[in-house]
C-alpha cells in the first residue's frame, strides 16, 4: 500500500549473476527463507484489509442481515458528513499532534539531562522509562482511578494537602476526566510516550561525533551555540523518526480512550469510533469505511515515516 514511498529507495548493487546453469535455482534458494514470513504477512494483514475495502462498499448492519446491499461509496459520504464521525477525525488529529509534540519536547529535555554523567544515571534512566513499560491498560487505569478520581485521586489529594498547608479551607477539587476529558487522556499518553522519545533522542545525542563537539568547545562555542548549531542539526533525523513513529502508534491509540473516558465527552478518536461502530452499533459497512479512512490517514504519515527511516537506513549503509 505504501509502494510510492519505496520507489525512490535505491537498492544496493546486487552481486553479479553467476553464468553457470544453477543461477535460477540459486536465486530461489536465496529467496526461499524469505517466503514463509512474506506469505504469512500477506495472508494475515493484507487479505483482511481487502475484505474491509469490500465491506465498506456495502450497507450492512449485522442486526438486519437480510437488508445487506451494495451501496458504493455512500458509507464514505456518511463518514465525512456524520457529525460524530467528523468530530472523531478532528479529535484524532488533535490528540495525536498534541501528544507527539509535547512528548518530543519533554523527551528532548530529559535526554539532554541524561546525556551527561552523574551519580545514579542508570537508575534515573530506569525511572524515566518506567511509564513506557507499564501495560497501557494499567497505565490508563492508574490515571483514571488513582490520579484523576475527584474524591481520592492523587491530584486532588495533593491539592487538599496544599490547601491544609496554606490554611485554605475548601480548595477547588476539579473533576479532571469530566471537566477536561481530552487533556486528561493527552496527559496520560504524554506520560507514556515521553520515555520513547527520550530513548530515541538519547541514542541520537550519544552518536554525536565527540571530536567535532570538542573542537567547537575549544573554539569557544557556548553551550547554547553548540546546541543550536551542532546538536540540533545532528538530532534532526532522530527527531523526525521519533515524531513519525510516535504519530503512527498514537494515531492508532485505543487503550487510553477506551479506559479513561470510553470515548465520551468528545474524546472518541477514529480507532475507538470504528470499534464502537462495529462492536456496539453493528454497522459493519460504516465501520469499515471509517477504518479505511484511518488507513489513508496513516499512510500519509507512514509515507513520511518510511522516507525518514529509509534515509537513516541509507546513511547507515554508506557508513559501514
Amino acid at each position: 500500500m505504501t509502494v510510492t514511498a519505496t520507489r525512490e529507495t535505491t537498492s544496493p548493487p546486487t552481486p553479479a549473476k553467476r553464468p553457470d546453469g544453477g543461477g535460477r535455482r540459486r536465486a530461489w534458494a536465496t529467496r526461499a527463507p524469505l517466503l514463509p514470513a512474506l506469505v504469512f504477512l500477506i495472508a494475515v494483514t493484507q487479505l483482511p484489509f481487502v475484505a474491509t475495502l469490500v465491506i465498506s462498499l456495502f450497507d450492512w448492519n449485522s442486526l438486519k442481515p437480510e437488508k445487506r446491499h451494495f451501496t458504493g461509496f455512500s458509507n464514505y459520504a456518511s463518514v465525512f458528513t456524520d457529525e460524530a464521525l467528523r468530530e472523531s477525525v478532528v479529535t484524532t488529529v488533535v490528540l495525536t499532534a498534541s501528544v507527539v509534540i509535547v512528548s518530543v519536547v519533554l523527551g528532548l529535555l530529559f535526554a539532554l539531562l541524561l546525556d551527561r554523567a552523574f551519580f545514579g544515571r542508570g537508575f534515573v534512566r530506569t525511572l524515566l522509562i518506567t511509564p513506557f513499560l507499564l501495560v497501557p491498560v494499567s497505565a490508563a487505569l492508574l490515571w483514571k482511578h488513582a490520579l484523576y478520581n475527584p474524591e481520592y485521586g492523587l491530584f486532588n489529594g495533593a491539592l487538599t494537602w496544599f490547601g491544609e498547608l496554606f490554611g485554605i479551607e475548601s480548595i477547588a477539587q476539579p473533576e479532571w476526566t469530566s471537566q477536561m476529558p481530552l487533556i486528561a487522556i493527552e496527559a496520560s499518553l504524554v506520560w507514556q510516550w515521553t520515555p520513547f522519545m527520550m530513548l530515541i533522542l538519547l541514542a541520537g545525542l550519544q552518536s554525536r561525533p565527540a571530536e567535532i563537539m570538542e573542537a567547537a568547545r575549544l573554539d569557544g562555542a557556548g553551550p547554547w551555540q553548540m546546541f543550536r548549531y551542532l546538536t540540533l542539526p545532528h538530532l534532526r533525523r532522530y527527531l523526525e523518526l521519533g515524531i513519525l513513529l510516535g504519530s503512527v502508534y498514537i494515531v492508532q491509540n485505543f487503550d487510553a480512550v477506551f479506559t479513561i473516558t470510553s470515548g465520551g465527552l468528545g474524546t472518541a478518536n477514529l480507532p475507538y469510533t470504528v470499534y464502537e461502530t462495529f462492536y456496539r452499533a453493528h454497522e459493519y459497512g460504516l465501520a469499515s469505511a471509517a477504518g479505511v479512512v484511518v488507513v489513508i490517514g496513516t499512510i500519509v504519515i507512514a509515507t513520511f515515516a518510511l522516507r525518514t527511516v529509509s534515509s537513516l537506513f541509507r546513511e547507515e549503509a554508506s557508513r559501514s
Binding site: T2, T9, R31, A37, Q46, P48, V124, W224, F278, I299
Partner: protein, 298 residues
Amino acid sequence: MSASTATSASVPASASASVNAATRKARRRSAALGVAAWVVGIGFCLPALWMVLTSFHAEADAATNPPSIAATLTLDGYRTFFGGGGGPTPWPPLVNSLAASFFSTVLVLLLALPAAYALSIRRVRKWTDVMFFFLSTKMLPVVAGLLPVYLFAKNTGLLDNIWLLVLLYTSMNLPIAVWMMQSFLADVPVSIIEAAQVDGARLPTVLRRVVAPVAGPGIAATALICFIFSWNELLFARVLTGVVAGTAPVHLTTFVTSQGLFLAQLCAASVVVSLPVLVAGYAAQDKLVQGLSLGAVK
C-alpha cells in the same frame, strides 16, 4: 555561561587561576544538573511509584483525601486479586496472556529469523523494497482489518480462542522482528557463513551454529520486545476473546466494572500484570531503542 571557556587561553599569569574557577563553575553546574535529573526522574515516575505504594495499602487507607502515605502496609490487595476472599482468580487470564505471547513470540522467531537471514546475509534482489513492504504492514492500523478477522473467527468457530490471538500477534510483531533481526544479523561476518556452507552446512545448521551465537543477544532482545507487545495488546483480545481466552489486559478492563472500585486491589492488579513487561523491558533497555525505532537507530 559561555564566558567560562573563552578566557582560558589568554593571560599566562592568571591563567591557572581562571581555569580553576572555570572548572569549579562547570563542576557545580553539572552537579546541579545531576540533582535536576534526579528530581525530574522521581517526579516523572511518581504516578507509577504511587501505584505501587497504593497496592500495599488497605482499601480504607487507599481511598482517602488527602492521601495517607504513612498508612500501614498490607498484602491484602494482592491477596484479594489472587482470589482470596472468594473472588474470581486471575490465573486463567494470566495464563492466556502468557500462552498467547509465548507462542506468538516463538512463531515470530521461526518466521523472522530465516527472512532476516535472507535479507541481511544474502542480498536478495530488491531487498530494500521487501524490507519496506514488511515495515509498511506495521503502519496499517489494526482497526482496518479487525472486522473481517472477527467475521472470519465467528464463522469458523475460532472466536474466544487464544490460537487466533497467536496468529494475529505474530502478524503484528513480524515486521518489527524482521527489521530488528536484519540489523543484528548484518553484524555476522559473511565469510564465516560462506565457510560453513562450503563445509556443506544447510540453512538450519548455519542458523543454529553460526548465526545464533553471534547475533544471540539481538535475537533475545527481539523476542523480548515481541513478547512485550503481545502481552500489552488490548483491542484484538477485547474483540476476539471472551470468557475462555480473555487475556490479562482484558481482565484488567473488566475488573473495575465487575467488582466496583477497590483502588488498592486495582493497583495490585496493575502491578502484577505489568511486572513481566517491566522486568523484560529493564533487561532489554539498550536494545529496546533499536527495536522500537525499527533498527534505524543504533
